[in-house]
């Protein structure tokens, strides 16, 4: 019931917003067409501006993954994660999640396929995927669009939220699904 309502809201939100904005602007005698084109121009330049930042980040992540350094990292971390009762299967997902959205989604899809969607690992992977974000990607994209290169404490705040989300997922899944 609740879920149906939310997905209904998600489906209608954008068409309704489009309708309301256009109508109101027209009524208020804004030159809607001209204003839209002006804004779209800015959109183009903003998207282009992010390219060098995204290239830098994607190259580093891509090399880190392809070289096998990612797997090594997982092995080094495993004694710590074992201590907290985190299943070894989901550790690559936890590490991949802040770095690459596509990569993490790939791991989640694979875990769900291998262990089954209704297994403990499947449910935990689903929860992890939904409750953490591609922090590095978001920071690179957002800061890159305004040419900011010193992120100050944004990385620490974002990553601590991700780590908390990871631990909270493990705890709540252990309580609910085990």
């Amino acid at each position: 019931m609740f879920i149906e309502m939310v997905s209904l809201a998600a489906k209608w939100a954008i068409p309704l917003i489009l309708f309301a904005i256009t109508l109101l602007a027209f009524v208020r005698r804004v030159n809607v067409y001209e204003t839209f084109v002006q804004g779209a121009q800015e959109g183009f330049t903003t998207a282009i501006k992010t390219i060098p930042f995204l290239v830098a980040m994607f190259v580093a992540i891509s090399v880190f993954r392809a070289s096998g350094a990612m797997e090594l990292f997982v092995q080094v971390l495993s004694p710590v994660t074992d201590m907290f009762g985190i299943p070894a299967e989901v550790i690559p997902l936890g590490i991949m999640r802040p770095l690459s959205g596509g990569g993490a989604l790939g791991i989640t899809a694979e875990l769900i396929k291998t262990y089954g969607p209704d297994s403990f690992i499947g449910r935990l992977a689903s929860t992890l995927q939904g409750s953490t974000d591609t922090t590095f990607f978001v920071l690179t994209l957002y800061f890159g669009s305004v040419n900011v290169i010193r992120y100050r404490y944004a990385v620490i705040a974002g990553l601590s939220a991700d780590i908390t989300g990871f631990i909270a997922s493990v705890v709540i899944c252990n309580l609910v699904f085990k």
Binding site: V6, T35, S126, Y142
Partner: protein
Amino acid sequence: MVNVIWVGMLLIGIIVAAINGNIDAVTTAALKGAQTAVDFALGLIAIMAFWLGIMKVAEEAGLVRLLSRIVKPVTAFLFPSVPRDHPAMGAIIMNLSANILGLGNAATPMGLIAMKELQKLNRSDPRTASDAMCTFLALNTSCITIIPATVIGIRIKAGSANPTEIVGTTIFATACGMTVGVIVDRVMRRIYGYRKWR
């Protein structure tokens, strides 16, 4: 911080590849990464042009200002340095709402508009993140999604008996993450504030 992470990932990657004996993977991966980045940015042009066009119309019609006035009690607490009816507030609110509804395509352009507006308010060095930017990104990356649509899709495809049973656990875990994100942001802002005085 990013500098160290970036250099670390790249150098460790190259060293590990050399030890593992698959050094040619480095070159391929680097170029493939660059290609992915450019492809992404090119795809972004369409979404950005469309949403920034619409947003400009909304701004001219006075809608962004109106929205920021409605939600000012919450935002005044989180973003003390942003004037209450500044367009940045409207964009921040729209970005977070889109995130909550899981509308990724709409969330990104709104977020980039918010960053642009926050940059206009950035009183220090324009290449350094302002307090408000850090808070915004902490909220953005830890934001609750009510419907994790992608995951539910994967679960349906994999033949789950109850694809949406993970919604409750997901909301709980994000809520924890978001709380910690906001607290860490607050604490770090203090620490960095003191550093500036020295």
